[in-house]
């Protein structure tokens, strides 16, 4: 089976998957709206939808890179640590007087480099992705602590805050970032050879190799992209808080994976629509926000979110089971 055939095969399944996903998202929206109305609170307000999108945006951006990596059949556990590292490094550079624009460029390059070193160990070093990134998760977090001896950094210029807290026509700018980034990645995945090859590797690495795909190189690119998007997520978080916390982003890798999985991309790789990852991230954000507004105790929130993840995948697989 060549790359195109795999893609075609996907197309049919994706539509069913997407449909259940959208129905799920709308159902959650309606349920929260009704339940909060009954509880005398408002879920579906303009301000609140802005909240959900802004709050989900960091995870949504990180999840782009995670989607790419998972599509190749890999995983990147280091993204949360990259978020923390980028924050502290950016904080130090800004304190040293570097202009914000340049800081952002440096941080993004840093993210790409970290991603590439993950990718090189995985593709050329033949170490499983789970293990490489589990290791770099720890290493990067450790380096983050060492760099500023575990201390947070605050007191940044107003320009930093503006990256994330500006409004365009009454809407938070984070919407714009998220949509542009998703538009770019969706174009890459659908219209370029790189995108098709990423699907091909995840679908069947050996077949892809026989078909002449440079699998190692493509894997390297995938992890570099994951590092890049994690760094962008880190910049957005840094701007949102205007505070660099060495512990920032811990656990974000799991939220990003959850968004990818809810969005319907198979953990085995090769299958799924990257645009749906955004819907996955928004569902997670909606759940967190809605449950908080309904004042559900925090540990019940985590139980409900956990159940939601499993339910989402259950419905996904239900279609597959039927097909079989």
């Amino acid at each position: 089976m060549n790359a195109n055939a795999i893609q075609k095969d996907n197309k049919k399944k994706i539509d069913f998957q997407s449909l259940t996903l959208y129905i799920g998202a709308i159902a959650i929206l309606i349920i929260f709206t009704v339940v909060s109305k009954l509880a005398g609170k408002n879920f579906l307000t303009f301000g609140n939808i802005q909240n959900v999108i802004t709050q989900s945006s960091v995870i949504a951006v990180i999840a782009i890179g995670q989607s790419v990596v998972i599509l190749t059949g890999g995983i990147d556990l280091s993204v949360g640590s990259i978020v923390g590292f980028v924050g502290i490094l950016g904080g130090l550079l800004m304190k040293a007087g570097m202009p914000i624009g340049l800081v952002c460029v440096v941080l993004i390059i840093m993210g790409i480099l970290i991603g590439m070193s993950n990718g090189a160990l995985i593709s050329y070093g033949k170490i499983p992705a789970f293990i490489v990134t589990l290791g770099s998760l720890q290493i990067i977090r450790g380096v983050t602590m060492v760099v500023n001896s575990g201390k947070p950094i605050s007191g940044f210029p107003e320009g930093l805050r503006a990256i994330m807290n500006t409004k365009i026509m009454g809407m938070p700018i984070s919407i714009l970032y998220v949509f542009i980034l998703y538009a770019i990645i969706m174009t890459i995945m659908k219209r370029t050879r790189l995108g098709r090859w990423i699907y091909a590797i995840g679908g069947n690495a050996k077949a892809a190799k026989l078909a002449g795909v440079k699998t190692r190189k493509i894997e390297l690119y995938a992890y570099a992209m994951s590092g890049l998007f994690a760094a962008v997520g880190g910049i957005l978080l840094l701007s949102r808080l205007s505070y660099a916390d060495p512990n920032a982003g811990s656990g974000y890798e799991l939220d990003a994976i959850a968004a990818v999985v809810i969005g319907g991309i198979a953990m085995s790789g090769g299958k799924g629509n990257i645009g749906n990852t955004l819907v996955g991230a928004l569902i997670l954000g909606m759940l967190k926000c809605g449950l908080q507004i309904l004042n559900v105790p925090v540990y019940f929130q985590t139980i409900i979110i956990g159940l939601a993840i499993i339910t989402a995948v259950f419905f996904d697989k239900a279609k597959e089971r039927k097909a079989e």
Binding site: N42, N51, K190, Q292
Partner: protein, 335 residues
């Protein structure tokens, strides 16, 4: 087919936008009508944000706050980050509280400097904030342009009282180990320094290690410290979790008669240990008081009455002498 998908997405977004639009206008309409007063002024709702809810200290604080809220007949919305105390999670909580329309927020910040954006949003929304337990640093308050009342304990003074007790009751020159909290946190530094400044010249500090507030790390750190320094006679742990870990290691080494352990926080497990004579003492703070005072003063603030801008809720060393009395006090705020 892809096109269809994107059309569906766009429709969904548009739909939610339209719905959102309708809703925001309808709330605008409905708000003044309630203010006009069928229910004579809407009930006051206060948002309460402890650092986490996975530790007894904050649970006690919340219980104090809940009791006060019930007494005053107001609503209390309690929300905390799940496991990790993080600035990002707290910002999200504060944003959601603002949109859900709370009248004021009492908060224990996850760190002294992390809340700058959250405070700005409170200021924009005109929502008063009271800071409990861990003080928000002045530079952050200045940056946000917000005046925030603080009710909490001076960790330094609490640790100092433990140090003074050691000077008065334990022989000079005893070999001592200090277990500290997470490096870089203000209260970790305050507790260490408070103890050290009071007792540092009286005892002989032979080991000092961070165990990150955790029981298991307190246990392993103490094991290592004991094998390197077998003559240790006193351990000051900056919280009870680490003290409990230290006690396990000391018991394992069969040295419970030779080593005195002092903790901090006076959690119920530690009080039991003090009562049983396993632990020498623990410094009690009064988290329930912080919760009570926070809610009480917030209501005053919302009603436009005079409220306190600073309250030291105090700290006290609990030893075998006063442990029973303190346990009785704590019972009122237990779950």
């Amino acid at each position: 087919m892809r096109k269809k998908l994107s059309i569906v997405i766009v429709c969904m977004l548009l739909l939610s936008w339209v719905l959102a639009g309708c809703d925001s206008t309808s709330t605008k309409e409905s708000k003044p009508s309630t203010q006009d007063g069928d229910k004579e002024k809407e009930a006051i709702t206060i948002g309460f944000v402890p650092m986490t809810l996975n530790n007894e200290y904050f649970i006690t604080m919340v219980n104090g706050a809940k009791q006060k809220a019930e007494e005053l007949g107001i609503q209390l919305d309690v929300q905390a980050a799940d496991q990790h105390a993080s600035a990002a999670a707290q910002l999200t909580i504060v944003e959601n509280m603002i949109t859900s329309g709370v009248d004021g927020i009492c908060i224990v910040p996850s760190s002294s400097e992390g809340l700058s954006t959250a405070l700005k949003k409170c200021k924009e929304a005109g929502i008063p904030v009271i800071n409990l337990d861990t003080k928000i640093s002045q530079s952050i308050l200045d940056e946000a342009g917000l005046e925030v009342a603080f009710y909490g304990t001076d960790n330094y003074a609490g640790a100092k009282s433990a140090g003074e007790f050691v000077v008065a009751n334990i022989a000079k020159g005893v070999e001592t180990a200090i277990l500290t909290g997470i490096e870089g946190q203000q209260n970790a530094a305050d507790r260490r320094n408070g103890f050290f400044d009071a007792a540092g010249s009286h005892v002989k500090v032979v080991a000092e290690q961070s165990a990150n507030w955790e029981v298991d790390q307190g246990y392993t750190a103490t094991q290592n410290i004991l094998s390197a320094n077998p003559n240790i006679g006193l351990i000051f742990a900056s919280n009870d979790g680490m003290a409990i870990g230290a006690l396990r290691a000391v018991e394992e080494a069969g040295k419970q008669d030779a080593i005195n352990i002092i903790g901090f926080d006076a959690i119920s497990e530690a009080l039991n240990m003090v009562e049983a004579g396993d632990m020498y003492g623990t410094v009690a703070q009064y988290p329930a008081e912080m919760g009570i005072l926070g809610v009480d003063n917030m209501v005053k603030m919302i009603k436009g009455q005079e409220s306190e801008s600073y309250i030291d809720t105090g700290a006290k060393l609990i030893t075998s002498e006063n442990v029973e009395e303190h346990k009785k006090y704590c019972e009122q705020f237990a779950d």
